[in-house]
């Protein structure tokens, strides 16, 4: 699996490179500016690009703009955006039309190596990785006559993991239950929330997030 990194802090960039290599991923390029990132993505066609949201020169939205451009120009390249703050507005901007091959995680997440590598692989494979903080913020949102209240605690857990972008198998592993059980929970959740249940694993992330945001 081939990875490109854009991160302007040397300390973090080198740490990230080592971490990815030790986990068996191939870092084909690493750089510190958005411009370089786009160049490397064009020339190396990696499976995934890991992008710091604040990149030089202004450290404002260069990283996000580069991420959106990769998503538009190179749909086969997964984009995992890292940030020291995660914001609902930014998540929605990044996902815009689909959550496929897109990830948005708090930077701290890289220290949980197994989880983080799992997220990188998911995004590289066309799946998604949405930070739990985004999901919990959206879940905490108050609504009038909220259908979420009808969910059982277990269903709520499954909903959260689903919104983070995990596959049914991933959810089953995480909760130590069978795949069949997960599928049952999922269809029950979709029924209670009134969402069309036809969504594939990769499509349902955006559907759930949009539902939670509304």
């Amino acid at each position: 699996m081939r990875v490109v990194i854009a991160e302007d802090s040397v300390l973090l960039r080198e740490g990230l490179e080592r971490l990815l290599r030790e986990s068996g991923l191939e870092v084909v390029g690493s750089c510190e500016t958005a411009e370089d990132l786009l160049l490397k993505v064009r020339s190396f066609s990696p499976d995934v690009a890991i992008v710091d949201i604040r990149l030089p020169p202004t450290h404002s939205d260069e990283g996000l703009r580069a991420a959106l451009e990769i998503r538009a120009q190179h749909p086969s390249v997964g984009v995992l955006v890292l940030s020291q703050y995660v914001e609902v507005g930014l998540a929605m901007k990044l996902l815009a039309e689909s959550a496929e091959g897109a990830g948005y995680l708090l930077k701290d997440r890289i220290s949980d190596v197994k989880e983080f590598i799992g997220a990188v692989r998911r995004v590289a494979g066309g799946g998604s990785a949405i930070d739990p903080i985004i999901v919990s913020t959206l879940l905490s949102k108050h609504r009038s006559d909220d259908p979420l209240e009808d969910l059982t605690p277990r269903e709520r857990e499954v909903l959260e993991l689903m919104a983070e972008g995990r596959s049914n198998q991933g959810i089953a592993d995480k909760l130590v239950i069978t795949l069949r059980a997960v599928e049952k929970y999922v269809s029950s959740i979709f029924g209670k929330l009134g969402l069309p249940s036809s969504g594939s694993e990769s499509r349902r992330v955006l559907a759930v997030l949009l539902y939670l945001r509304a």
Partner: protein
Amino acid sequence: MAGSAFASDLALGVARAPRLWRLWAIGTAGCAAAGATLALGLASDGSAEPVARAITVDWIVLSYILAGLIAWWCRPESRFGPLMVAAGFAAFLSHLSWTSLALPYAIDVPYTIGMTASLLPPVLFLHVFLAFPSGRLERWFERTLVAAAYVAAIGLGLVVMMLSDLGPHNLLGIVSEPGAALAVRRLALVAISALSLAAIAVLVARRRGTGRPLRRSLALLIDAFALALVAIPVLLIASIFDPSGMETIRRVAYAVIGIAPFVFLFVLLHARLARSNVGHLFVELRADPAPTDLRDALARALRDPSLTLAYWLPEFRSWADLEGRPVKLPSSGGRGTTLIDRDGAHVAALLHDSALADEPELLDAVTAAAGIALENGRLNVELKARTEELRGSRSRVIEAAQKERQRLERNLHDGAQQRLIALSLELGRLEERIRGDREARLRLDQARREIAKSLEELRDVARGIHPAVVSGHGLAVALEQLAAKAPVPVRLNVKVEGRFPEHLEVAAFYLVSEGLANVGKHANATAATVEVARTNAHVVVEVVDDGIGGADTELGSGLRGLADRVEALEGRLRIWSPTGGGTRLRAEIPCVS
């Protein structure tokens, strides 16, 4: 106490009146000249015609010298009076050639002068008419026109004299070429006629081009000037062909040219009378008018709707408009400037239509009447200027504070936060290596959690210092997080596109943040709406809830800081919170783009 000056010279104080004896001396000389002309007329060969001619000449000589002296006395700051006097004497000089007819013996010098200057009077009349009211030619084309006329009159006059054989009295004669002399003289006549017609065009343009309705008396004066300018070419061209009725034409033309000074005297009298008309201004000013009312009252009294006022602020060493903003006085050009001084220091300046320069009496009377009110107005504007300055320094302070906060946030983000994340990453890698040692793994995991907590705390601190997402991604994106985290359902309605100046976005962000926090704390609401819209030059931010209302609208609570922030951007923060009727927080912040 109040002095006035006009567009081209901003001299202060009243120009000194001419010595009375000098005027009397000039007047006496004028009478003597008139007498001499009459005497020459009587003395020349006895026929009735020279006497009649002398009388028509004296009509011009006396009317211009008399009116000129009165103008000199009344308006010492204007050169118009002396110019008229000069025109009168020129008329006298040009008829000195009569000496050859009047006296049995030749007086060469007066004869030569008279012949050479024979075309000077029409040019001086032209000069007088165009130089009204200041006595100066304000525009380049007026100066060019008059200069050309002088060249034609004197220059060509000299050439004519050199070529002519006009008898032994001509001291300038060099060769006798009567044909050439006649041609040159006709050229001069045609040239001066053409220039007179051009001067009529200038007067017509001036009559149309003044910025305010022309007074009837002033219109009459310009008409009199124009009529005289018609008479000049008629007289000059007629003299080329010398028709049978030439003498009648000459008398009519002289009469018309001589009327202009009397019309001028009438206008002068009228303007003096207008001075007593400013009485109503005193009444209007008695009530200590607001600055704009004072301007309006002055504009009415001066009959100049375009009037503007500027006040002198000694502390700032500059002029300021009614709002206390610095302005520059026009150095010259289309606008007239009248400075109003008090005890040797500037108080105010009236910027008015330059046509007002023909009514110095009115300007003087009006500025004298408005003296105290203007002084009050000046103090008022000075206060405004100080407030303006204070406001400027407040927004500079807030801007500097914001820059500093931004820098701090950035330092945290790039420094401590990155290092902690890198450290946490190292611990994570270490944890992967010691899979076997369960005890060590647990302790490493513990350490990682501690770092995660520190990071969370640091993040909160950094976010409180400066909302980086606002500067990075704009208000609309940042507000989504606030709406999602709000304690009640929030409908977000951001109807603006693109970005605004950063300090404005940050202020709006804090406003919504604080507003929604208050909704949670006090309002007991079930829902709230956040609206951001743009109206003309303002960004309007509203936070509305459906709670119990009755909030402290005096901005006593945490809202004072927000109000300061909004006011520093020259915006306005208002709160409606009727009991039981919800709370509405509305900020309007001006934005130029």
